[in-house]
């Protein structure tokens, strides 16, 4: 039987090396900002807030919530939110085009992060004023990573939608809605080991939400939005009706879904 006895060697490995603490690089933002909002002034936006982990548990699915503590009726009502991740290879993660049906904007999503980074929410008003809020998240490895599995099955399942409106619905009040669409959201940065190149980008580009045929929110997704794009947002259903979504991927394939909102 196994004998547990003598120890060989005398010291376990103790490392005294200089540990390089990587942190979010603040020097990237001026470049990203210049690329997306060249020369335009930008004010701080204390009314835009985040709920985010200080350190992401998984770079592939980092939960992030953005809220605006004012409505569209405000003098500087935010019409559009640009969500950017400074250190991702493709910073623009999503663009949310808002309407007054959202009430005070509150949206949770899941994003990819390749490394420690600042996250930026840039709000734009109808007259083109820009407001900036930032949060730092430490993370690793969400953008390259693994592409594995049955390609045909992945393609066949892509586009399935789940939408759920919180019940009981309080008409006229903010109501939480969850939307998930099955999609691999290929970044174009993942290695293709057969061709030695990269797996082509394949991702949901847009999702348009309507309530009784009126626009609630239009979302433009970038590949920084995680696999199986997830949105949880508040909207205000004034009366019973139908919440519908139409999504399209970069192959031009359309997917739609609707759900009845009633008592």
């Amino acid at each position: 039987m196994l004998k547990r006895s003598l120890l060989i060697g005398c010291l376990s490995l103790i490392a005294f090396g200089n540990i390089a603490h990587a942190e979010s690089d603040p020097k990237k933002w001026p470049l990203v900002r210049e690329a997306f909002f060249a020369q335009r002034p930008m004010a701080d936006a204390p009314f835009i807030t985040f709920v985010a982990p200080r350190r992401a548990e998984s770079g592939a699915q980092v939960p992030l919530e953005i809220a605006i503590d004012q409505t569209q009726a405000h003098a500087n009502g935010i019409k559009t939110i640009y969500l950017l991740v400074d250190s991702n290879p493709i910073p623009l993660t999503a663009t949310y085009n808002l309407t007054n049906k959202l009430g005070k904007f509150k949206l949770a999503t899941r994003i990819r992060m390749e490394m420690d980074s600042y996250i930026r929410a840039v709000g734009e008003t109808a007259d083109g004023k820009l407001f900036l809020a930032s949060v730092e998240i430490r993370a690793a490895g969400g953008c390259g990573g693994t592409v594995d599995g049955d390609e045909a099955a992945i393609r066949a399942a892509a586009g399935q939608i789940k939408m759920n409106v919180e019940s009981p619905v309080k008409f006229g009040n903010a109501t939480s809605t969850t939307f998930i669409i099955k999609h691999p959201m290929r970044t174009g940065l993942q290695r293709d080991l057969v061709s030695q190149g990269f797996v082509p980008a394949f991702f949901i580009q847009k999702a348009a939400f309507t309530y009784n045929n009126e626009t609630v929110m239009n979302v433009d997704f970038g590949v920084g939005t995680s696999e199986d794009p997830y949105l949880r947002f508040n909207f205000i259903p004034s009366a019973p009706g139908v919440l519908a979504v139409k999504a399209v991927d970069n192959d031009g394939k359309e997917f739609s879904h609707q759900t009845d909102v009633k008592n």
Binding site: L2, E57, S58, G141, G145, D148, Q160
Partner: protein, 306 residues
Amino acid sequence: MLKRIMLAIATVLNASLALATPLTMENLGDGIYVHHGVHEDTSEGYHADICNISFIVGSKGIAVIDTGGSLKTGQALREAIRQVSELPILYVINTHVHPDHIFGNAAFTQDKATFVGHEKLPDAMERRRENYLRINQQWLGEDFNGSELVKPSLIVKTTANLDLGDRTILLTAYPLAHTNTDLTVLDKKSSTLWTGDLLFVERTPSIDGDIKGWLAVINELKNNEAEFAIPGHSSSLKDANWKKQLNDQERYLWTLLNDIRASIKKGEVMEKAMGTAAASERSYWQLFDIVNRRNVNNIYPALEWE
């Protein structure tokens, strides 16, 4: 004169080769040696020495099972092997793709050892290459110097036998479980099974594959007749009952899966479940608050589609 130069060169070579302090090994008898890593998280404060590292000495040569998280750890392992035996190092086996198990491989290229792994290991290494090199460099600094990915040249699709002379070891590859590259090693002579990270002891099991697949593999391992097991992580093998350890791990994984399913059914959000799922297991495991949250984050999105 030439002789002197040669001597000087030899001295320098010896000095550089002897730099690594041998890894502390536990001699289990029967030609089996194990080093226990410490239960650190893979983040800042990580020292590339957290997993169990083993070698088996046969009459013809030696098989290494996992090599630690850096060239430095691999070199220390090699020093420890050389204190025990001068036989050739024939095989270096990686039980899966995780960096704490593979980055010492490069210490054994000089031995012309055959590197062995799961069929999917070469691809998995390639896909993770950039990220692994960057984050390990970040965590370890100069202690990561010289570490590189060395891929297996002998791959295991289902099972394979490796001949060490007086003993043959059986390698078995598994479908998606802890990772997509899980491999076990069975030494029939001593009735010992190396589980890789298909079995965690003390340290919270981490899921980088598929929780349901892993639970299926656990069921399979329950029927394994090996008398002893060497898990992927543990601080000691004293009085270890590996079937009980397997049951403990199964209990954690089922609790986690059931709690996440219940959370999804209730319409809760992932962020909440990251703090509550499997909370009843908290006192049984080390690094629980870090690893369990990561597990929920990793598996919750896929379970929303059940």
